[in-house]
């Protein structure tokens, strides 16, 4: 596996735990590809997130429950702060709640860190296609980015979701995928990279992306 040659090795990478989804899978996959001096820490402590060199923000389940869990865990501000300051990787729901608003659960206001909203797939014109969009699909890389380094164009990633993001800034779309309609499957903006697929379940391409993140300076 080739990696990004930045000389960056994060000391501590936090996986944010707010009670949604299986963080162990994310942490185990990250640990597998992390340099030996890097510590992967699952935490719900805002202070630890603040001290980390890089942050992974995973998520599963429904938008309302996710936002509620974030609020209850008192992590709202810590997430926003980290997403402004250090290499930040959002995964699945961790991408969707970065947006302004989600159509899920009759409408949920989200973190509003990235301009744009989260919408439900409309598969009416595509009979035979199913929701959730569940399984392996390709990501077409639409930007050059250190996190894509060494991952082939149109590589397969594992997805499970029924909603997708539509960022306002077209130049932040880092990847696109087609399920009936073509949708944004990755966003890159400054120190944030957020992906709809699950790299921790995407075999080699996913591990490669996580490995790249371990060495990414955030620029």
């Amino acid at each position: 596996m080739k990696e990004v040659e930045t000389g960056v090795n994060h000391k501590t990478v936090c996986v944010v735990d707010y009670g949604m989804g299986n963080l162990n899978s994310v942490a185990k996959a990250a640990q597998t590809v992390a340099p030996s001096q890097t510590r992967i820490e699952i935490t719900h402590d805002p202070a630890r997130i603040d001290q980390a060199d890089a942050v992974i923000f995973p998520g599963q389940g429904a938008a309302r429950a996710c936002m509620q869990a974030l609020t209850e865990a008192g992590l709202h501000q810590a997430i926003l702060k980290a997403s402004n300051e250090k290499p930040f990787l959002g995964i699945c729901m961790g991408l969707q709640v970065l947006m302004g608003h989600s159509e899920e659960n009759a409408g949920v206001d989200c973190l509003n860190r990235l301009p744009g909203n989260t919408h439900r797939f409309d598969l009416t014109p595509y009979p035979g296609l199913k929701l959730p969009h569940m399984g392996w699909n390709r990501i077409h890389q639409t930007l050059e980015h250190p996190l894509w380094h060494g991952i082939e164009q149109d590589a397969w990633f594992y997805f499970v979701h029924s909603y997708y993001v539509r960022p306002e800034a077209a130049d932040t779309i880092a990847g696109q995928t087609t399920h009936g309609q073509t949708f944004c499957s990755a966003i890159a903006q400054d120190n944030i990279f957020a992906i709809q697929a699950h790299p921790e379940k995407s075999a080699d391409s996913g591990l490669h992306l996580l490995k790249n993140f371990m060495h990414w300076s955030g620029t």
Partner: protein, 257 residues
């Protein structure tokens, strides 16, 4: 570019060990779930399903350790089924590293459990397993019924109605096994698979009866399944996952290669 159809090898686990003879020439321990999972991952399996057939409740905790060790070394989705009866069971398995759980008889005894689990953990991780047998007389319109206890006990529930109900209650996926075809190696019950796949908005996994690669292809092209599950044709080294995918691709089916 489109979603790939999935191939899912299914492994029976008894007391922490894979049983029903998995035979690969190049693995040391044919009962070790981690070794077998790695092997299938290398061959390009899209997901893995572990079916816990441990008889005693006391020993059932061993599946947790199996999931933990597989999930720490194999980075593709894992589904675990067998004996899942409570929200606590679901939570424990997901925390151990399972991505989905397959609920079978507990859904029949208490359909509300499917809704409860789906509300709590999200539809994406709730698979409902449907074991069906054809009950219509030859010449009559097709009709299938849900059976429990490995196909021995009829429930009087119509399979199609049940499938629709499970989707409405929040199942994210249906694993449809034909109890008529299971173990016969003569192919899926394609009419059953297609009837259910066309009736529900969620993905259907076809299961039961695979004996060759063309059966897998038919599950997708004629059965309208999103994924195909098989055990013995892969376990005994008759075919590799890669061969299966090559055959599917030749028939115009999108696969991850």
């Amino acid at each position: 570019m489109t979603l790939a159809k999935r191939i899912i090898p299914c492994l029976d686990v008894d007391n922490g060990r894979v049983v029903k003879g998995v035979q690969f020439v190049d693995i040391r321990d044919a009962g070790d779930p981690v070794e077998i999972a790695k092997k299938y991952d290398q061959q390009g399996a899209d997901e893995l399903t572990f079916l816990d057939i441990t008889a005693t409740a006391h020993d059932r905790d061993t599946i947790i350790h199996v999931v933990e060790s597989v999930a720490s070394q194999v980075f593709i989705p894992l589904t675990v089924g067998g004996g899942i009866r409570s929200v606590d069971n679901v939570r424990t398995l997901l925390n151990a590293g399972a991505d989905k759980v397959a609920i079978n008889s507990a859904a029949i005894f208490n359909p509300g459990f499917v809704q409860e689990a789906s509300d709590k953990f999200g539809a994406q991780c709730i698979v409902v397993a449907i074991d069906a047998k054809k009950v219509s007389a030859p010449g009559d319109p097709d009709k299938w019924e849900i059976f429990t206890h490995g196909g021995r006990k009829p429930t009087g529930i119509d399979a199609l109605e049940w499938a629709r109900k499970m989707a409405e209650l929040g199942a994210g996926e249906l694993l449809v096994t034909s109890m008529d075809q299971d173990g016969t190696k003569s192919g899926f019950d394609l009419a059953l698979t297609r009837a259910i796949a066309d009736a529900v908005p969620i993905p259907v996994i076809a299961s039961g009866g695979v004996g060759n690669l063309d059966h897998l292809c038919a599950g997708v092209t004629e059965g309208h399944a999103e994924a195909v599950l098989a055990a013995s044709i892969f376990h005994f080294g008759e075919y590799t996952i890669e061969q299966a995918k090559n055959r599917m691709q030749k028939q115009g089916i999108e696969v991850r290669l």
